[in-house]
């Protein structure tokens, strides 16, 4: 059964949604429209002239094997960042939820990393893993492991994933923790009386009840890993070594602001827009079916 509140007349609802519509129009529809328009041209950097090329920019991009490879890199990166930021967050939230004393302190400490800007987080991790002066790479060297993310693509990927996921754990923790608090105690107590142990209760009761939160975080984290990890990649690897950490959004930046090729850069924004749109549709269509509200 669905409950619905209806308004009489149209002006009040229109007024209420107006700010959101206005913000979307100014900050989303207008720039997105501009990107689509510009993606059809090859302009010169100064905006003095531009040539209409139709879908030429898209052809140029899709025939570039490095651009196609960047889709795979992005997929690997996003999956890893999403997993590495959600699983530890859930684990920490469950532990913190069980605490009776001092949970406030833990909560505060766990939320701190979220306040660190991605670029700053990148620099922090870069320092720890710096091949020359890094603390972690020094310990690894003592253990006989030669850490060198400037030449080893796998290590570079690992480093940017950890640096991107780290601050995000706090954000996810916050949501998981709130959701855990909302799980009805009576259900858990009933299961406990029936003899279900902690992990049994977690798998069969708590996790299903968390599914709306998990789903929300999944969507949000995928979008995060696609768009907001730019700062981390820029400070740690600049997309290298070779092209091992060049994700799609980094290429948008480097073509647009290093190469001054605004046509290609706009075309990439459009492709990115389509990819993320499709991903979100897929998530809502297939994953959401398994979510119990």
């Amino acid at each position: 059964m669905e409950k619905r509140v209806t308004f009489r007349g149209w002006w009040l609802p229109a007024l209420l949604i107006a700010p959101q519509v206005l913000i979307s129009a100014v900050f989303f529809f207008y720039p997105a429209g501009q990107a689509i328009w510009q993606s059809l041209f090859i302009p010169d950097p100064f905006g003095l002239s531009s040539q209409f090329v139709g879908l030429g920019n898209f052809e140029f991009l899709l025939s570039d094997k490095f651009y196609r490879a960047s889709f795979v890199t992005t997929a690997v990166f996003s999956i890893l960042v999403t997993l590495c930021s959600m699983i530890p967050a859930l684990f920490l939230a469950v532990i913190a939820d069980r605490l009776i004393k001092g949970s406030g302190v833990y909560r505060t400490l766990l939320i701190w990393p979220y306040a660190v800007a991605p670029a700053v987080a990148g620099v922090l991790w870069l320092f720890m893993f710096n091949t020359r002066v890094g603390v972690v790479s020094w310990y690894l060297g003592n253990l006989g492991y030669d850490w060198n993310h400037v030449l080893n693509g796998g290590e570079a990927m690992g480093l940017v994933v950890v640096a991107s996921a780290w601050g995000r754990i706090s954000y996810n923790f916050l949501f998981f923790f709130a959701a855990l608090q909302a799980v009805p105690r009576s259900v858990i107590e009933a299961a406990a009386i029936d003899g279900a142990r902690f992990w049994k209760r977690f798998w069969t009761i708590v996790l299903p009840l968390l599914s709306p939160t998990t789903f929300f975080l999944l969507v949000v984290n995928v979008v995060y890993s696609f768009f907001e990890t730019f700062g981390v990649i820029h400070t740690i690897t600049s997309g290298g070594p070779q092209q091992s950490t060049t994700i799609l959004v980094y290429k948008v930046f480097s073509d647009g602001f290093v190469g001054q090729d605004l046509g290609s850069s706009s075309a990439q924004s459009v492709i990115l827009l389509i990819v993320v749109g499709l991903l979100t549709v897929i998530q809502f269509k297939f994953v959401e079916k398994r979510v119990h509200y």
């Binding site: 207008y30 720039p31 997105a32 501009q34 990107a35 510009q38 090859i42 302009p43 010169d44 950097p45 100064f46 905006g47 003095l48 531009s50 040539q51 090329v53 140029f60 570039d64 490095f66 091949t131 020359r132 002066v133 400037v150 030449l151 080893n152 693509g153 600049s238 997309g239 290298g240 070594p241 070779q242 092209q243 480097s254 073509d255 647009g256 602001f257 290093v258 190469g259 001054q260 090729d261 605004l262 046509g263 290609s264 850069s265 706009s266 924004s269």
Partner: protein, 437 residues
């Protein structure tokens, strides 16, 4: 999307301009220098402002080289461009192609009537910034060229005579073997790998880096960096990397930290590294000419420059351009140039500044500071060693960096890597050609 973003950025920076009394014509000067170099630029500007009362030059720092260029472009799109914009040598082709956005320096100087002699600049520097018909388009500002830095103490410790001749890569190869046997863990390290080991390498051996006179003769240029000379050099470097004799530290000048800390014996880096190395190094060091392969090409030809020049942007008042002319004339004067060279380690870019510096005994007191000058000016530049003029070059360097990393990691042979760099770089050159047709 980009346009509005850039416009907004420019508008927000415009608000930050300091207010100046309106009686004097104001000249905006955007540059990329911080720290000691930033202070020196500020001092130059203050000296000029104090020397006359008709114009006021306002300097502002706009980030690193790439960011400064971006800020200038964004500002131009928003109609808020500065009068003078500092652009690094890599952005030269971009600026030259932007006909309507810039006012060539020779035009500014002729109209302003300020004292100026384009021929005062040394050929290798001037050639980089002049049009094919010999007109100066931008004013050379800071220029440097790569040299070999030697840690004498590290050589001694490894049992190698620190005075060994290192003028050829053949000799360097032998020394690297000896260093390794002597227990040195980091024989050779480099900064700016593409600039030193490909761009300057090609000029120094008088082989083309790109066709059409390295891009000077037209936009239809193609990369030629996969030639036998370059591939042989990179193959040798790749072998040194595999044997742990050449250590790769990153795409920019990360290696400088290793060298200054005394961890590496040899370091290929810009001559402008002098300020940092002389103040931090706690060991005896030498500046030597960049090595060359004996018997390859016409080596040693001359090396080329890195650094920046000053571009005058279009769309301002005549009175202001007069001020620009006066300021550029002031900058090109021998005294200003000589003190800039002595303070920074950048090359003396006018012949007079070099003579004046030698006359005061600077080179005797600071041995090695003239190595770069000699290396660049010993021979008349050829079509292969005049410089590079390639569009999207900042990005092409990124591609070259990626491919070089493939060689150092042992994933690719030098030939494979350079063939791929050519293919990918050429695609960008064609796009640049299309955008500036």
């Amino acid at each position: 999307m980009k346009k509005s973003l850039l416009g907004g950025l420019a508008a927000s920076t415009a608000i930050l301009f300091p207010m100046v009394a309106s009686a004097q014509a104001e000249v905006q000067f955007w540059h990329a220098f911080t720290g000691r170099l930033g202070e020196l630029v500020k001092a130059q500007v203050e000296e000029f402002n104090a020397s006359q009362s008709d114009y006021v030059v306002v300097e502002s720092h706009k980030g690193n080289y790439s960011e400064t260029l971006n800020a200038g472009i964004a500002a131009f799109r928003a109609g808020e461009q500065p009068h003078i914009l500092m652009v690094f040598e890599v952005g030269t082709a971009t600026m030259m192609a932007a006909g309507g956005a810039v006012k060539p320096v020779h035009e500014v100087m002729a109209e302003s009537g300020a004292e100026f002699d384009a021929d005062a600049y040394i050929g290798a520097v001037k050639g980089y910034y002049t049009s094919t018909d010999g007109e100066m388009l931008s004013l050379p500002f800071n220029s440097s060229t790569p040299v070999l830095w030697v840690n004498r103490d590290a050589m001694q410790e490894a049992g190698v005579d620190p005075d060994t001749d290192l003028s050829t890569w053949q000799n360097v190869g032998a020394v690297l073997d000896q260093l390794k046997e002597g227990g040195e863990e980091c024989g050779l390290v480099t900064a700016w790998q593409s600039w030193i080991h490909l761009e300057n390498f090609s000029a120094y051996h008088d082989v083309p880096f790109a066709t059409r006179d390295n891009g000077f003769a037209g936009l239809d240029t193609e990369l030629a960096l996969n030639g036998p000379a370059q591939v042989a050099h990179l193959t040798a470097m790749g072998e040194w990397a595999r044997d742990g004799k050449f250590i790769y530290t990153g795409r920019r000048n990360e290696g400088g930290a290793n060298f200054r800390a005394g961890e590496c014996a040899l370091f290929t880096e810009s001559s402008a590294g002098y300020a940092g190395i002389s103040s931090e190094a706690e060991f005896e060091f030498d500046v030597r000419p960049l090595p060359y392969w004996e018997g390859v090409g016409n080596a040693p030809q001359n090396t080329i420059i890195g650094g920046a020049s000053l571009w005058v942007m279009s769309g301002h008042e005549d009175a202001e351009y007069k001020g620009v002319g006066e300021f550029l004339s002031f900058l090109s004067s021998s005294d200003v140039q000589a003190s800039w060279h002595q303070n920074t380690g950048y090359l003396p870019i006018t012949a007079e500044a070099g003579v004046a510096t030698r006359a005061v005994g600077f080179y005797e007191q600071n041995p090695g500071t003239d190595v770069a000058v000699i290396q660049m000016t010993a021979k008349e530049p050829t079509a292969n060693s005049k410089g590079l003029r390639l569009g999207s070059f900042d990005q092409i360097r990124g591609i070259i960096d990626e491919e070089l990393e493939g060689i150092w990691a042992g994933d690719k042979t030098a030939q494979e890597a350079m063939d791929s760099a050519k293919e990918r770089g050429d695609a960008l050159l064609r796009r640049f050609e299309a955008a500036n047709r």
